[in-house]
């Protein structure tokens, strides 16, 4: 699929990547930056598409899915990373695989001041919680970063998150 009103090509490639890697539970708090993944997961009868009330639910859901032998991914906006902090104690102390994708706000070209504090804190907070961060700045970064993060999560039992920069997804205009 090519870039169009249906969203950028890299987002569709990302969805295909996740399915090829047997990631079949998508949990998320709705976010424009993840529109393609969310919409496609909702339309796909082969995957679970779970809307959360807060992002930390998705961290615990991921660990539960692993207990039962199923792979999942958590889609969050950078602001939602702050909501996950204490729940990462579960992934860390239980050495649960965890794969997340954060769509960034509050960095490259942000026009809403309220997004700045958590956007700037996202990577330091994740790293303080033991989550390995990989940042995708361009479309060609996305699949290599996801490949690396998925390998670290599901082969090395790590928590890993790919950060999709505003440089990639486009700064929201206000």
């Amino acid at each position: 699929m090519t870039a169009s009103d249906d969203g950028p090509a890299w987002a569709h490639e990302l969805y295909e990547f996740l399915k090829e890697n047997e990631i079949t539970i998508f949990s998320y708090v709705p976010d424009a930056g993840h529109r393609v993944l969310i919409d496609r997961s909702m339309a796909d009868p082969d995957v679970e598409s779970i809307a959360l009330t807060t992002e930390e639910e998705g961290v615990a859901l991921s660990a539960g899915a692993h207990l039962g032998g199923r792979r999942s991914v958590l889609l969050v906006q950078s602001s939602g990373v702050g909501n996950c902090i204490n729940m990462f104690s579960l992934t860390q102390i239980g050495r649960f695989p965890f794969l997340g994708i954060a769509s960034m706000r509050g960095e490259f070209g942000e026009g809403n001041p309220w997004q700045m504090p958590m956007g700037q804190a996202t990577q330091p907070v994740l790293e303080a919680c033991g989550v390995v961060c990989l940042k995708a700045e361009t479309p060609s970064d996305v699949i290599p970063c996801m490949t690396a993060a998925t390998t670290m999560a599901y082969k090395s039992d790590q928590a890993a998150m790919v950060l999709l920069s505003q440089r990639l997804i486009g700064a929201k205009a206000f």
């Binding site: 959360l52 930390e56 615990a60 039962g68 199923r70 204490n86 102390i93």
Partner: protein, 198 residues
């Protein structure tokens, strides 16, 4: 301690085993503190139970993830009023997906027992069974007496969607059984039992 305030008269040491029945009917996730001790004391090392000892607010979500991964097994979440109040939105998430194999028990003693029996909101007027109904869970029971146990115990096993049982108990202490706090070892043991692999 504020133990003069009681939301129930049942002693959890008797009431929890009576409500849950044979744990072999389930794979189990518990919230931290009292409910983990309640279940550990029944399970006595059985591998089909995973105990949180932190990650407060995560039990229902973890149970939902497990239920989605193991649709042929009945998943039982056993948690407490404080743990559930911390992430009560998880009830809405579970209700919306409504897996047929997810059952939730909240052992409500109206207090934060682990931190010195401070009053919780459920002593002060919050009703978690109403919140569960409001979240959209279709099968909700509130148990305050022994006579209500048998039907609630059946509901946990037979419901075709998410079920929620609020078990109102006194401030009697949970059992003292010492459970393993090694989250990795418990994970491996659980996965070996459920999946046949670590």
């Amino acid at each position: 301690m504020s133990k003069e305030h009681e939301v129930g008269s049942l002693d959890r040491a008797d009431a929890v085993p009576m409500l849950l029945g044979d744990l072999d009917d389930f794979i189990v996730v518990t919230g931290l503190a009292g409910p983990a001790k309640d279940v550990a004391n029944i399970a006595r090392g059985k591998p089909n139970c995973y105990y949180l000892a932190g990650a407060m607010g995560g039990a229902v979500s973890m149970g939902l993830g497990l239920a989605l991964a193991q649709p042929k097994k009945k998943v039982l979440v056993v948690t407490g009023d404080g743990e559930l109040l911390m992430n009560v939105g998880a009830l809405a998430t579970a209700a919306v997906r409504n897996p047929a194999n997810l059952a939730i028990v909240c052992v409500d003693n109206g207090h934060y027992g682990e931190t010195g029996y401070q009053l919780s909101h459920t002593t002060l007027g919050t009703d978690l069974s109403v919140m569960a109904s409001g979240a959209g869970i279709g099968t909700v029971r509130s148990v305050s007496e022994e006579s209500e146990m048998a039907e609630a115990s059946r509901v946990l096993r037979d419901s075709n969607g998410v079920s929620f049982v609020l078990l109102r108990v006194s401030t009697a202490e949970p059992p003292k059984f010492r459970r393993s706090l090694d989250a990795v070892a418990n994970k491996i043991r659980f996965r070996e039992a459920v999946l046949g692999e670590a």
